[in-house]
Amino acid sequence: MTLSTLWFIVIGLLFSIFLFLEGFDFGVGMSTRFLAKDEQERAAIMSTIGPHWDGNETWLVTAGGAMFASLPMWYASLFSGYYILFLLVLVGLILRGVSFEFHKHAETKTGRNMWMWTFFIGSILPPFFLCMILLSMVQGIPMNANGDAFPKFFDVVNLLSVVGGVAGVLLSLVHGLNFIRLRIEGPLRERARKLNQILYPILFLGEVVFAVLVFLQTDFFTKRFGSSLFITVLIVLFSLLGYYGVLKDREGWSFAGSGLSLSMVIVLLFNGLFPRVMIATNPAHSILIKNAANSQYTLTIMTIVACILVPIVAIYFIWSYSLFTKRINPRENTVKY
């Protein structure tokens, strides 16, 4: 395996970890409207991710940085080609990121409401538009020889990309509810489980539609039928695991299941992309990993750096989660949000 292929996998891995972690952050943000019934519950829900959301989002920043550092032609084409969608992702992330601190300082009901709404909207926009970008990109878009992407409106907004966006949002919500079940005690926790009992069947339907559309609209199943099918089955199986956890009231299983489903979506897309990073309608203009990659020297340095730093990050990252395991009771919440 070449270093550039290794970095393609690393980027995929970073995006998977990002979706696993930030996925529940997004879902938690959405739950402030779909689950919580009053201010106290909303604040409790917000505080479940208070110490973690920033670290989780750093995985996205790292994935973007890694993309720039290893496959810059991909980074350049993708980000410039999906300009407006990335702008909307950014707007979402900005609104969300400030909500935590600003909500803490808001003293009127209107103020607190406003920051809860920015939290909610900022939790829906990014997963929706990120999934939309990825699922538009894998269908193939008009590109030139320089690698500039010029997707037209219906290249960006079509059945698969919209279904993908909605599925990403739904899966994040389900994942967030599973996280809430892990971190909250009392009736709110039970309500999260009940809501997921309703959401899972819809999710399964969505996943089937998604799989059919991927089959029809991309070349994943013609290029690599076996692995694409296998990963699609895994997505559904992990979701079933999550559903099992809902039915049996085992939130650990649910959380692992929904998180891995999200990660597997990235695996499916990266598996189908390989060895390309951008798919052009004219195959001659598609960008291949080897053409997108940096020099061997730079990739070697990045590999050494990653091998040293990632394990260290992983250790304190996991340790930070181990500090906040006590369940939050919405009625006795001492954390101010």
Binding site: A76, I84, L87
Partner: protein, 480 residues
């Protein structure tokens, strides 16, 4: 005019300027606040003087507000290179991505994880252990500055690379040279010390407003904070001026045009070179007039001795044409915007001097032996107004750095006009500019509003609040 005003390049440049300037209001402030709050908490851990705990908590709130806005505006920066400057990303990918990725892995994870722990564990760890968390955050913010400045320093003064013959793009040949870039190790101290100064000035200024409220129970808190802030702002204002001087030495060598423009020199100066305090610049005809000069001082600034003339922009322009015409053509304009640089430099250095002066006077008025500062209301008001001043100075500094690189995006290798995304449209850029501008105005306003509100409540607001609200039958009422 409209065609020029709304060209894709100028809109993309405007966006970069706007987003970085706004981001850079909060970055130095957060870096400085993190550091100063870490010191406060360490003093508490060592001396067990409760006022320092109150200070760490109170100023920590302001730090968190600024940090939040800093993070969200930072994500724009990373995405922006791909969105607006895709040709730049292609050209520079081999060099530029690495520091960004390392910044994320090494710095962003430390700061984001440890700030999360720090925020929520005041009651859980011993003071020393808890202070460790804010130190980690602070170190993270400084590491982040190193790596982003490493990337910027390459743009100012490329080192450790070659141009790949087949692709025509930059190829990294020596990563060590990128990290050891002399620009980096001269700009980093200047930026970091100015960051400390920024936070110190805000702490002193907000404490001055706090003292003006004349609440007895807060007097000790705000007085201690004021003295702390004034000492820090005096020390760091002096140090950052010194660091800036070191950086200037490097700029004269690497980017003489930038230096000549900050001094508004068109013709080569006499020997020894006089320093122009103010002058009128006619940028169109490359002429300056009405100079008020101090003889010999520019030689001291430039060479640390009383001799040596300084090259003017006209000479440097000719030299650059001789050097680059073969590659970039005769039509290049190598004059950097002289008015922007000339006045930015004067604003920046003037502000630094002002801060030194105000801090010094403030320290004298509040000296322990004869503390009369509360009788000098005007002094407290001046300190309070000074809160805004370092932010202007920081922006002016970046104006010099970034405008002074014109017309290059990577000095001597790649022009700004070459770097823009071929996919960019005026409509997209106009749309995103409006969105960002509206968002920034909103976020900045809210951030200032909540900081003001926090100050208004004072440091003992929550204590008083929780005393009133504790239900006598709740667990908390019986202690822990």
């Amino acid at each position: 005019m409209l065609g020029v005003g709304l060209s894709i390049v100028s809109l993309a440049r405007f966006q970069f300027a706007m987003t970085t300037v706004f981001h850079f209001f909060f970055v130095p402030f957060s870096i400085g606040m993190g550091f100063l709050v870490a010191i406060m908490e360490t003093i508490y851990a060592v001396k067990k003087d409760k006022v320092y705990l109150d200070m760490a908590k109170f100023w920590g709130k302001i730090f968190l507000l600024s940090f939040a806005v800093g993070i969200v505006t930072g994500i724009i920066q990373e995405f922006q290179f791909g969105m607006n400057w895709s040709e730049y990303s292609r050209f520079m990918g081999d060099v530029f991505g690495a520091p960004l990725a390392i910044e994320a892995l090494l710095a962003f994870f430390i700061e984001s994880v440890f700030i999360g722990i720090w925020m929520f564990t005041w009651d859980r760890f011993k003071p020393g252990v808890h202070a460790f968390m804010i130190w980690m955050t602070s170190i993270g913010t400084m590491l982040s500055a190193i790596w982003i400045l490493a990337a910027n320093s390459f743009m100012q003064h490329p080192t450790g690379f070659k141009i790949n013959n087949t692709t025509g793009r930059i190829q990294l040949t020596d990563f060590g040279a990128v990290v050891a870039n002399p620009q980096l190790w001269r700009v980093f101290p200047h930026v970091i010390l100015a960051a400390f100064m920024t936070a110190a000035v805000v702490i002193a200024g907000m404490s001055a407003w706090g003292l003006l409220r004349k609440k007895k129970n807060e007097n000790h808190f705000f007085k201690t904070s004021l003295r702390f802030g004034l000492w820090a702002s005096l020390i760091f204002a002096i140090l950052s001026a010194g660091a800036g001087d070191l950086q200037t030495q490097q700029i004269i060598k690497d980017q003489p045009m930038k230096f000549a423009a900050t001094e508004g020199i068109y013709k080569d100066t006499k020997d020894p070179a006089p320093w122009t305090i103010v002058e009128l610049i006619d940028a169109k005809n490359h002429k300056a007039s009405g100079q008020i000069e101090v003889p010999g001082v520019l030689s001291i600034l430039a060479y640390h001795r009383l001799s040596g003339s300084v090259k003017g922009m006209d000479t440097i322009n000719k030299e650059l044409h001789a050097k680059y015409d073969k590659q970039f053509g005769k039509n290049m304009n190598y004059y950097v915007p002289p008015k922007t640089l000339f006045w930015s430099f004067r604003v920046m250095t003037g502000i630094d001097a002002l801060i030194m002066l105000v801090s010094f006077v403030g320290l004298i008025f509040s000296r322990k032996k004869k503390d009369t500062i509360e009788n000098h209301k005007w002094m407290l008001v001046v300190l309070g107004i000074c809160i805004w001043v370092p932010f202007i100075g920081n922006s002016a500094g970046w104006f010099i750095t970034e405008f002074g690189r014109y017309p290059w995006i990577v000095y001597g290798l790649f022009t700004i006009a070459q770097a823009v995304s071929p996919t960019s449209t005026v409509a997209n850029l106009l749309f995103s500019n409006i969105i960002y501008f509206a968002l920034f105005l909103f976020l900045g306003g809210v951030m200032v509003w909540y900081s003001r509100q926090t100050l208004h409540h004072g440091p003992y607001f929550e204590e008083a609040d929780s005393k009133q609200n504790v239900d006598p039958f709740a667990k908390e009422a019986f202690g822990k």
